[in-house]
């Protein structure tokens, strides 16, 4: 029996939608999961509290987040096939179990002062929940919205960006409630460890309820279902879009998969380069020779908020746009226009705050768009057969970029001087390196061609195999 075996009520067969089911119930179910797991990008709210509570370094506490993101990529890759076979409800329950358990084990670690329990809970167990939860609704959404797959996956993956927007202010308010001595408006005020432990328990309860709603509501379409008025020929007629089936095992043997891996890796690396350094970056860009910056710490915080909005909006807007103009042209824009925006940011960014913000917002919207458009691109190239599993394997590019992006920026900045004394010129080598990274992704996207017939499942086995395994 699989270690992920679960009651029959969670089986794919039990989640087939009855006739007349409204497909617009599926995106909120997916959003309910993604909004919860998106909390992972709001960990900076209590990072200093954990540093103080454990008497640890920033790096030691930052490792909790890094472990979670690495586990996200690994679990998405390893569990992708299981998620596709088992269906979205079982996957969402597994994700919720891991995510909630991660918070509870993490809370125990904080309460007892054992950092390793935080690594194990939030990092490893929670990280597995992240990976399974991220891919759990993707293939289901693509099947419900064959006419608009970019819009459907954009809505869900937008939730991952939105999760941090919700969790960040909510965490601040709850920490003030649990530790009356904490005042987020006072510089240097840090909440107590017990307040963070209580916050983790609260998140476990709230996210458990939200994700249960998603799991209870999600449905898969019946075999052969199609939306009213949908003409499959309208999709088939587009270049790169296949109606054949490619298994996950075969997909990773195609050059198309690895070209897309490079595309996602380059797009994410460039975006993380700005995201990771956003607050000090805008202050450094407008620092005069005397050392004072024209941009205050509060204004820099506003810039970070604006980037979060651009990241979230890009996921929905650009992914939906890809349904109209096609996936390959959309990525050509992400990487080509992104490359120009990065170059302009490096060369003219320091001339005006408005210009700096404009270029950064464009880059971050493309960063989000790249994530959200990837499942639809995979659907176009490999079909819907095991698109969830293939998507899971592709997300290893995210893990790799999560290491490469900050490494590129920090290495260059370390060589330029001390934090607090840097200027726009110090960022130029790192930003121009990102231009080169985007150029590599741009070329990789141009090289994407339809998948060769030899990788397709035999016609008789494709749909049959699909029925048999799902």
């Amino acid at each position: 029996m699989s270690p992920l075996a679960a009651p029959a009520v969670l089986d794919r067969q039990r989640t087939v939608a009855p006739p007349g089911f409204n497909r617009w119930l599926v995106p909120p179910a997916a959003l309910a999961v993604h909004l919860c797991i998106g909390q992972v990008y709001a960990t900076s709210v209590y990072k200093n509290a954990l540093v103080s509570h454990f008497g640890a370094s920033q790096t030691q506490i930052g490792l909790v987040f890094s472990i979670a993101i690495v586990m996200l990529g690994l679990s998405a890759a390893v569990c992708g096939t299981w998620v596709d076979r088992s269906g979205p409800r079982k996957a969402m329950v597994a994700s919720a179990t891991c995510w909630v358990s991660g918070f509870l084990v993490g809370a125990l670690g904080i309460a007892t002062g054992q950092l390793w329990l935080l690594y194990l809970g939030y990092g490893v167990i929670g990280g597995i929940g992240l990976g399974i939860g991220y891919i759990s609704p993707v293939s289901t959404l693509i099947k419900w919205f064959p006419d608009r797959p970019g819009l459907a996956t954009g809505m869900a993956i937008m939730g991952f960006g939105g999760g941090a927007l919700v969790a960040s202010p909510l965490s601040t308010r709850l920490l003030s409630l649990y530790d009356p001595g904490y005042d987020s408006t006072v510089t240097g005020s840090v909440p107590s460890g017990s307040a963070v432990a209580l916050l983790f328990v609260t998140f476990a309860v709230v996210y458990g309820l939200f994700m249960s709603y998603g799991a209870a509501t999600i449905r898969v379409p019946a075999q052969g279902w199609a939306p009213d008025g949908f003409d499959p020929a309208s999709v088939r007629s587009r270049s790169l879009v296949t109606t054949a089936s490619v298994s996950a095992r075969n997909a990773v043997r195609t050059p198309q998969f690895w070209l897309l891996w490079v595309v996602l890796f380059c797009n994410v690396t460039a975006g993380i380069g700005i995201l990771e350094q956003a607050s000090p970056m805008i202050q450094d860009f407008f620092r005069s020779g005397g050392g004072a910056s024209a941009v205050s710490v509060a204004a820099a915080g506003g810039f970070v908020g604006l980037l979060s909005m651009a990241n979230m909006a890009g996921r929905f807007v650009w992914s939906s746009t890809s349904d109209v103009i096609g996936r390959k042209p959309m990525y050509t824009a992400y990487l080509g226009v992104g490359l120009v925006a990065y170059f302009l940011l490096a060369t003219f960014g320091q001339t005006s705050t408005a210009l700096f913000v404009l270029f950064a917002v464009v880059i971050l919207s493309f960063y989000g768009g790249g994530f959200a458009t990837a499942p639809a691109y995979l659907r176009d190239l490999f079909g819907t057969f095991q698109v969830g599993a293939i998507h899971g394997r592709l997300l290893t590019a995210w893990s790799a970029a999560g290491i490469a992006g900050p490494l590129i920026v920090n290495r260059f900045l370390d060589a330029q001087g001390d934090p607090g004394s840097l200027t726009a010129a110090a960022y130029r080598p790192a930003l121009l390196t990102m231009v080169a990274v985007l150029a590599v992704g741009f070329v990789a996207n141009l090289l994407v061609r339809p998948v060769a017939d030899r990788f397709h499942e035999p016609a008789a086995d494709g749909p049959a195999a699909e029925r048999g395994t799902r």
């Binding site: 007349g20 089911f21 409204n22 617009w24 119930l25 909120p28 179910a29 959003l31 309910a32 909004l35 939730g159 939105g162 941090a164 927007l165 919700v166 969790a167 960040s168 202010p169 909510l170 939200f210 709603y213 509501t217 205050s296 509060a298 204004a299 820099a300 915080g301 506003g302 810039f303 970070v304 908020g305 604006l306 979060s308 909005m309 913000v357």
Partner: protein, 35 residues
């Protein structure tokens, strides 16, 4: 609850927290131009 009611309730359940996050973030982002 009919199908339309379920859709409205489902979107409200995820939309209200998301709206809260968007408003809070926009307030923070406004400090970029006033701070």
């Amino acid at each position: 609850m009919n199908a339309r009611g379920k859709v409205v309730a489902g979107w409200a359940l995820v939309g209200i927290p998301l709206l809260y996050g968007v408003v809070e973030t926009l307030v923070r982002a406004s400090r970029l131009f006033s701070g």
